[in-house]
């Protein structure tokens, strides 16, 4: 990981901890692996690797019901599996903050992320789930803090989409 990429992961961790995040459900991802590593290394977050992204969101819903403050990390392709459980989370007001890599915007050079980038914004938009797209790691800590803060305060799921160039320090 480059120094900038470590900075992005650290910024996300700091923002999450400031917002009281204490659990992370994840599936490994080429963009988010450094962030997952940083969360694990903090020793302050219960780490739960899952088998499928939709299962992970369901586990996070349970963590929320039990009083934890979870985030989910995944490649945005997993959002494609997750429409039903995200909808249920919205209906019953059990907030989950989701960090997902890839977006429908710029900075996506790989054809094999084509379906993923269509899904990311589309699932959130279709379900009326608020989301933001990170554009650089300046301010990323505050953006992460605000994402969790909004999810908790408004009892809504909230997406923070992370293009590869942001997380790899190639802004």
């Amino acid at each position: 990981m480059t120094g900038d990429a470590e900075g992005a992961a650290g910024a996300l961790l700091r923002g999450a901890l400031r917002a009281g995040v204490d659990a992370c459900v994840y599936l490994p991802d080429s963009v988010l692996f450094g962030t997952i590593r940083a969360f694990r290394a903090s020793g302050e977050v219960l780490m739960v690797p899952c088998a499928r992204e939709d299962e992970g969101i369901a586990v996070a819903v349970g963590l929320d019901l039990g009083g934890r403050n979870p985030v989910c990390m995944m490649e945005a392709s997993g959002l494609g599996y997750s429409g039903l459980i995200l909808a249920r989370a919205q209906v019953q007001r059990t907030p989950v903050t989701i960090l997902a890599s890839h977006t429908a915007g710029g900075g996506e050079p790989m054809d094999y992320h084509g379906a993923t980038r269509l899904l990311s914004d589309g699932v959130f938009r279709g379900l009326g789930i608020p989301f933001e797209i990170a554009t650089g790691f300046d301010g990323l800590e505050d953006q992460m803090f605000r994402a969790v803060q909004t999810a908790r305060g408004q009892r809504t799921c909230f997406g923070l989409l992370l293009p590869p160039h942001v997380m790899r320090g190639a802004c």
């Binding site: 088998a51 299962e55 039990g66 934890r68």
Partner: protein, 195 residues
């Protein structure tokens, strides 16, 4: 053993466990037998056990029970590997396995109706055999549910049932009289001690 007998046993074993039930008639049956504030009914297909896992991890001091039909459980069966990876001692999963989907006419065979073995799937997912139970006799199911609720888990209890008293989709089927939103609010309050 039919579904009603099986649910009588599972409901009696619940105690003060937080419970998540899968979609369909099992939710109405539990509501009629062992309703409690810490209950979420009619969780969408494939997710009851995963949500129960999350609660169990968040609240290791509280027993948590997932109740699913075999169709719903199989749809989310990958969670077996996650449960065993995390091994929450306070989680029990009861699968009422009648080998048909309970929607519509209730006659369409599920995966277990074609030979799939949920207990075997747990073993193949790494579970120790003494945490995996499968029974069709009511006394044996009661015994296994007692073990699941009283000893360190996680435990999986597959209750094999016949379809003799199944209830196809109909307005006459028992349903929980609590909105999904209210279920979540009550669950959160109960688990936080604010109820």
């Amino acid at each position: 053993m039919d579904r009603i007998e099986a649910m009588d046993i599972v409901a009696a074993a619940r105690g003060d466990a937080a419970a998540i039930t899968g979609p369909g008639v099992n939710s109405g049956l539990l509501y009629a037998r062992a309703d409690a504030p810490a209950t979420i009914y009619n969780m969408d297909m494939g997710y009851a056990t995963a949500i129960a896992l999350g609660i169990a991890l968040a609240r290791p001091d509280r027993k948590v029970l997932a109740i699913e039909g075999d169709g719903s459980f199989f749809a989310g069966a990958a969670v077996l590997s996650t449960i065993w990876r995390m091994r929450p001692e306070n989680l029990a999963v009861a699968v009422l396995d009648n080998e048909v989907w309970g929607t519509g006419e209730g006659t369409e065979p599920t995966a277990t109706g074609s030979g799939a073995d949920i207990a075997g799937l747990a073993l193949a997912s790494g579970w120790d055999a003494d945490h995996v139970h499968s029974a069709a006799d009511p006394n044996e199911v009661a015994d296994r549910m007692g073990t699941a609720m009283e000893s360190p888990g996680p435990h999986l209890v597959v209750c094999k049932t016949d379809t003799s008293r199944d209830m196809p989709s109909s307005p006459d089927r028992p349903v929980p009289r609590r909105h999904q939103l209210d279920c979540a609010v009550l669950m959160r309050a109960e688990l936080s001690g604010d109820s």
